[in-house]
């Protein structure tokens, strides 16, 4: 498996869901980050944790995918993105009757307490300060996706 740019600046990585074997499919995580470097790293971390990953470069593309892909187990999104911030994406997800149950995690390179509280108040599951480590993901996902 290699990293490559998919349609719409997205990266798709991860294991194919096993078919007809009785084994549950890997949870599908949607990663959102306008930085190609950070998308690759977070996709790599999620892949190594055995998640199925779709990585897109904007909130707009995230919402498009959420509209067509019903089985997203979690969204992990950067905070600062042009056009639609991770916070605005969070609000849209939590404001949608179809999407509001999907856990949303925010990532940011800046540790700003007011920003963190605002996201948590809006319903974010957690707020991770970049660079995100595999241990952050393990700890978080074992709590949110048992």
């Amino acid at each position: 498996m290699s990293i490559g740019a998919g349609a719409g600046g997205g990266v798709v990585a991860g294991l194919a869901a096993p078919a007809a074997t009785g084994v549950a499919a890997a949870p599908h995580v949607l990663a959102v980050d306008d930085s190609s470097v950070d998308r690759a790293v977070i996709a790599g971390i999620l892949r190594s944790s055995r998640f199925r990953v779709t990585a897109v470069d904007s909130g707009k593309r995230a919402l498009e995918l959420l509209g067509s892909e019903p089985n997203v187990s979690m969204i992990i999104t950067d905070y600062w993105m042009p056009e639609m911030t991770g916070y605005e994406l969070l609000k849209k997800v939590k404001g949608s009757s179809k999407l509001k149950k999907i856990p949303v995690v925010i990532m940011s390179s800046e540790n700003v307490p007011t920003r963190i509280s605002r996201c948590l108040e809006e319903g974010a599951e957690d707020f991770l300060v970049k660079p995100v480590r595999p241990s952050d993901v393990s700890r978080l996902f074992s709590r949110v996706l048992p």
């Binding site: 290699s2 990293i3 930085s35 190609s36 950070d38 690759a40 790293v41 190594s48 390179s109 480590r133």
Partner: protein
């Protein structure tokens, strides 16, 4: 060579975290991420250079661009380059144009040096891989 990259402060522990993600399913992960970084950082530095010229004293804009570049540096463990990005942002915070210009020149220098060192590093890895494969085939 890798040890010297760490000893001289070009890379930090975050690079090891990226390396740990490389496995049989993604055997070229590190080089792919570094390639993305070098391309992306080149683009961001070009944006900053244009902004320094087109938007004089627009410290908010300059800082926003540099924040993106600093973020990429952090993500792959490009420590020295990250530090120069932070100096630039400090100068933005102080409204210090000269400081920003000096810091940006340092960012560019660190980027050029890091690019050269990483390209050499991956060249060595490829040679070592080819030698190993040839040795195994001879045996």
């Amino acid at each position: 060579m890798k040890k010297s990259l760490f000893d001289q402060g070009y890379l930090d522990e975050q690079f090891c975290q990226v390396e740990d993600l490389q496995d049989e399913a993604s055997p070229n992960f590190v080089e792919e991420v570094v390639t993305l970084f070098l391309k992306d950082s080149g683009r961001l530095m070009s944006n900053i250079e244009q902004a320094l010229e087109k938007y004089p004293r627009d410290f908010n804009r300059w800082d926003a661009y540099m924040q993106q570049l600093k973020g990429s540096c952090c993500s792959i463990g490009a420590s020295r380059m990250k530090n120069e990005c932070m100096s630039f942002r400090d100068s933005c915070g102080q409204g210090n144009v000269e400081g920003c210009m000096r810091a940006f020149q340092k960012v560019k220098r660190e980027h050029a040096v890091l690019r050269q060192k990483l390209e050499s590093y991956f060249q060595l890895l490829r040679q070592a891989g080819a030698t190993g494969a040839a040795t195994r085939s001879i045996k």
